[in-house]
Amino acid sequence: MFWYKLAGAGLLSLGLLFSTGTTALASCPAATVADMKGVKAGKYPQQFELSEFERNAGCKMTFQGNPDIAKLNAKIRGNTRNLPPVEQRLPSEPLIYAPYDSIGKYGGTLDVLSNATEAGTSDFLSVRHVNLVRYLDDLTTIVPNVAKDWKWNSDFTQLTFYLRKGHKWSDGHPFTAEDVKFWYDHLALDPKIMEKPKDYVMVGGKRMTVEVIDPQTVRFNLPAPKPGLLAHFAFSFAQGFQPKHFLGKYHPDLNPDADKLAKQAGFENGLAVIKAYYGNSDWTDTPSPLLNAPDKVAKLPADVIPTLESHIYITDTTEGRHLVANPYFHIVDTQGNQLPYINEQDEVYKNDNEIRILTLVNGEADYKAQSLQLSSAPMLLENQEKGDYTIYLKPEITLSNMSFNVTHPDTDKRKVFADLRFRQAMSMAINRDEINDVALFGQGTPKQYTGFSPLPDFVDKKWESYMIDYNPGKAKSLLDQIGMKDNDGDGFRELPSGKKLVLNMNFSTQGIDPQIVEMVGQNWAEVGIQTTVKEVTPDEYRSAQSSNQLDVGMWRSSQPLSIVMGNNELWVPPFENYFGHRTGMLWAEYVDSNGSKGVKPPAYVMQLIDDVNAFQSSPIGSAEFKRLGQRMVKNMTENLLKIGIAQKPAPIYRKNSLKNFVEFKTHSYEYYRTYPYRATQWYLDE
């Protein structure tokens, strides 16, 4: 009799065990973007805060972690072996993602390719990247990530971020507002670490101040309005926080024993340790102590700096890197599973493009977009079935363009190049449709350079097609008007002064497609302008550009609105940064030296400078904002400072076993690659 009761009790308790686990309060539905299962959207699309979700779904969330997490954690040197349970590892206010297609499965290793330790890596870096906020996949809306929410004051001089309670670094220590202030005051602005502060931490050349209101609230006080500051934290690679508890103890300003601590590990001083970990750069691909100090790393408390990202380095060599999931990552899915799903990531370096293509064709990588060019598309497309992957062709943001050296040292050439009719003629002489057909497989879009890409909707669309029609007859008549005639009968025109004109088109393949250059050269020869085309190294190109030696500048340019709001380089001479497409070098000299050197730019250039500065301070979407934007585009495009050719697409590669992958809108770096598309919720399904 007795054992019947025992069995019964056992069965009953088992039953209770099951029921409480599954019913009690309804467990949360597996809401995904594909099927929200009736859950109402929260304040921001595709994601929720915990209380918001529980309210909208009418459930109580329970958390689950990766069953292998203890094993993965054991590989991170510097983490305690005793891993707390998942509820204690997550913040008490985690971020909840609704995955794109389905709740994921834990496991697998993401295989990726980069060129070298610090080259061609931004693609892969963006896969695990986090920052205070993020752009949504529509590339226009900004949503929270590390920060829970934010608030601007009325005139855009104060930006407050609200962080998450209980958020921890990858080593288990708490993440608070102090970490943001530490990053700003003691790293970004400390001349011992960054000799000159980057312009993205300044406003109009002046520094901001960062206030810690409470451990979860941090406030940026700006010396002047800069609405673009929020967008910066959405698209930039620079994370607005660093671990104060870890790096702070090596910083001489914060710890009097910093140098002593450093010497114990074999380093010269505290700053050297900071350099070994942080690389004195906000880039997260700088060599870690595993690579830059392999003989000393064993004496340091951890192999790599703690992070908030979804994965953390465990090996770092010149052949590649290996990462494991961060046990303290702050995002969960709608059923409470802690992200990331993918256990490990393996990055291999292959510096030759052909080898990379071969690797991809063989299906040996899971995702790649950076450095894939349209010219490789046929090969990639053909082997999709064999390699079990999919290729997406998406437009790039930058546009191939050419410029004429309007401040050329040779005064005869300068006179012609500076003549607007010449630039108009050359723009009309280019057969963009033919170039599109031949060089871009007909997949490109002929476009004029307007400075913005994509063109904001408050700017008239007509500017994108300004003077892009192929009209050699008109071009020739314009050239005749300027006075460029063919006097010696060799088929090519001379300068108005009578001197022979040969346009040297020296280009670098890093900036522009060789076929495009050759064809444009032919087009111009057909209207009577003699050209010679030569390929040079990027160094040589930049060098010639710097010393004002180029006849024709050729590269890719354009930026989206969000970047222009924080960066005026496309609108101020020399019209891009050192590594881009610069023109009007002597105008830049004039502006930088306040008029003592160089050549005075024409009035429209001065207006561009004034306009862009006013643009950056005006509230987004206001009438003033739109008016300024319109005028900027008109000035830039009408004057054909940079003549656009075409915008082309580029391939994005994805192995079919990679799930929760949504098609990107563009193939570009400008929104930090995969970051808007939530790579942290990808999973592998072999």
Binding site: E354, I357, S376, L381, V438, N506, E518, Q522, V536
Partner: protein, 396 residues
């Protein structure tokens, strides 16, 4: 009958006389002729050189961007036929082609051959202009500029009435591979010969002096020679090539490359020359000349040099393939000759793409020419060496 015998006897006697009074060159030539392998190689080499020399006549299209066929990029080879299902024709013909490309074809041009559209070959057609003497030197001061064009023709061996004929297919921009191959052979040849010549001159001077005077001068020059031989060539060449100013024309680059080849190659030659000179210097006939009161210059010119001329020629022939190979390797990396002075190396540069091997195999045809060319030179060199070696008489 008698007439026949008489002739034989006379030839026999003549042969013997010829043999004993023959000059060195004739002896070498006759021994060379009896070496079948070398003869075959020699003929192949001669044909290739002639093809290269007359490349413009033999090419229906210009090998540069200007001669590209816009409607036939990455096109497969078109071999002329005499006969197909529509009948036999004395005149060879090829087919017309149409092509299309879209996302459905993965952006590859899909070429459809129209077997009804016969395009007959024509011979000795009129085409693009070329000159055998074409000098255009841009010297300082306009007065000294040289711009001479002579022996200009525009006839080509063959062509088609409509469309294009591409025996070896075309490359990515539509340039005719057949024309480029012919030009490239000649360019590689010129570059190699020039390089060998420069190396020879340097080697002769340094090796000759070193071997003739001996002593500390010899040791010093040997050390210098060894030092230069020690330096890893390719990387230094790359660094040098990266330094070439961009304004230089293709021809100027050509000369610089050839010069650099010469500078890399002379130490090996110099060592050989020195060895020759050293071993000959102690011979009796030199001593005799010295006793007669001959000056050093006279001795070197009239006695020493002729004694090992044959060896030198052979050494030069042996060095030649290495020069061409080196130039090819560097053009392949992209640091050598550039369009339009392209060589076999730059042709092969396009081959290093996975896409090409899988889909456009005809890009490899120049490789076959290159290999044949080098092998021919090497076998001829070996044959010459065998022919010039007096000890070889005993073998045959």
């Amino acid at each position: 009958m008698g007439f026949f015998f008489n002739k034989n006897k006379k030839s026999d006697q003549q042969l013997k006389e010829a043999y004993f009074t023959a000059s060195q060159v004739e002896l070498i030539r006759s021994r060379f002729k009896s070496n079948k392998t070398a003869m075959v190689a020699g003929w192949i080499l001669t044909i290739l050189i002639l093809m290269g020399f007359f490349s413009e006549f033999l090419s229906p299209y210009q090998p540069t961007m200007a001669g590209r066929d816009k409607k036939y990029e990455n096109g497969p080879p078109q071999i002329p036929k005499f006969w197909d299902e529509n009948g036999f024709s004395f005149r060879p013909f090829i087919y017309g082609t149409k092509r299309e490309r879209s996302i459905k074809t993965n952006f590859r041009w899909v070429v459809t051959v129209d077997r009804e559209d016969r395009r007959y070959l024509r011979f000795f057609v009129d085409g693009w202009e070329y000159s055998y003497i074409d000098l255009e030197w841009d010297l300082p001061g306009e007065f000294f500029d040289v711009d001479v064009q002579a022996l200009t023709f525009s006839t080509h061996l063959f062509g088609v009435d409509k469309g294009g004929i591409h025996l070896f297919g075309t490359d990515k921009s539509g340039k005719d591979i057949y024309s480029r191959t012919l030009l490239a052979i000649f360019t590689s040849l010129k570059c190699g010969v020039l390089g060998v010549f420069i190396a020879f001159v340097l080697a002769l001077i340094i090796g000759g002096i070193s071997g003739y005077y001996g002593g500390w001068l010899d040791s010093f020059l040997q050390m210098v020679t060894d030092a230069i031989r020690t330096v890893p060539q390719v990387p230094l060449f790359m660094a040098l090539a990266a330094f070439l100013p961009q304004e230089w024309s293709a021809e100027a680059v050509f000369f610089v490359i050839a010069t650099i080849l010469g500078f890399i190659g002379w130490p090996t030659l110099a060592r050989r020359i020195r060895t020759h000179v050293l071993s000959e210097r102690s011979q009796d006939y030199i001593l005799a000349a010295q006793l007669c009161g001959a000056s050093s210059g006279h001795i070197i010119r009239r006695h020493l040099l002729p004694s090992f001329t044959s060896y030198i020629i052979i050494d030069l022939m042996i060095t030649f393939p290495y020069m061409v190979r080196l130039e090819t390797a560097l053009s392949f990396i992209g640091l050598g000759l550039i369009d339009p002075v392209s060589s076999l190396g730059s042709l092969m540069q396009n081959v290093s793409k996975a896409d090409v091997l899988l889909n456009y195999q005809w890009y490899f045809i120049p490789v076959l020419f290159f290999i044949t060319f080098i092998l021919a030179v090497v076998f001829v060199g070996d044959g010459l060496r065998d022919a010039a070696d007096p000890n070889m008489i005993k073998k045959k």
